[in-house]
Symmetry: C2
Subunit: 185 residues, 2 copies
Amino acid sequence: MRESAVKERILDVAARLFYQQGYNSTGINQVIDEADIAKGSLYNHFPSKSDLLVAYLQQAHERWFADMEVYLSPIKDPRKKILGLFDFRLNRQLVSNFSGCQFIKASAEIGRGEPKAMDQIKMFKDRLNNYILSLVKQAEHKKFLTDEMLTDTIFLLLEGSSTTGVIQHSPEATRKAKKIIEQFL
Amino acid sequence: MRESAVKERILDVAARLFYQQGYNSTGINQVIDEADIAKGSLYNHFPSKSDLLVAYLQQAHERWFADMEVYLSPIKDPRKKILGLFDFRLNRQLVSNFSGCQFIKASAEIGRGEPKAMDQIKMFKDRLNNYILSLVKQAEHKKFLTDEMLTDTIFLLLEGSSTTGVIQHSPEATRKAKKIIEQFL
DNA sequence: TTTTGAGTAGACAAGTCTGTATATTTTTAT
DNA sequence: ATAAAAATATACAGACTTGTCTACTCAAAA
């Protein structure tokens, strides 16, 4: 017996609004209006707005990795997979019209007032870091940097590309980051 | 005739609250309470909350560069100045308890609904990029990367260190970024 | 067929938000 | 000293906030 379609609709609408308008700027009433459900239903599935935020981040986490694995699965060479990460980032920037990383955005907005949400954000970034490290270990690279340092470079360049993409409203930073990493492979 | 002390107090309190709690989570009433001024005075100096945000970003911009120039002025070697940028970042992270970059935070919160504020943010990051470029041009480095690419690397690593510092609540990322740049100098 | 659970619609509480207005006092400048 | 400007305290409008609650409908299961 599958999960309620109502719950899915709430989560999808909340995800879109939290991401595009921000968590604080999105009211419960807007979520129920656009999801076209009753307020009681929302509070039946999510005890509070904060729980809805955590659920949104959880879903975003799972979807991000699922999408990424689909995107990178045709690529076999680990070096090309690493570069593919930047193309994947680029794609998402174009599709989202440079709205930025969901997790960075959330963390900037909530500060330390939402510990469960912050944990979700940390877990996502940790997993990304570990994934990059596993690719780097598989890849033959110039060893100008150690595996760990190259991993950090890739991770930090990706993070920098995210925020810079938002501010410049352009894919330039991500393209430059990719070119930089190409020098190391 | 110096600028009204009231205006200064408003701006300083707003700066602190906007930065620590976020713009959306800070109400005008909290600002006037903590600044201990009347609501009418606030709206006399700043026609709207949005204008107060822009003024805050302007002030933060000027102060950031002023502080940085003080911090780096005893250093003469351009390579050490570049590394000093990471120490400066580290200092600010420790002092602010890893609250993150003021401009990234603001840009994450306001989206494209505040064009004047976004312009301020862009101007800050542009100026930072130009400053890094001028240091790189003065510095003798290994030329593993071109001047422009090394500039982008430094800039993006600094940006990545900011967001990662917030999420991990630790100075590790900034220290690693510095070590990476050391390899290029 | 009856009971149970999910969903709906909407009122409501209690408070917050930005911004305006008014009347009064304090400060500054001439 | 007087007139103008700046700051004060405070009330208010109108909209919005999260979350609770009631009364009702409908569908599926027992």
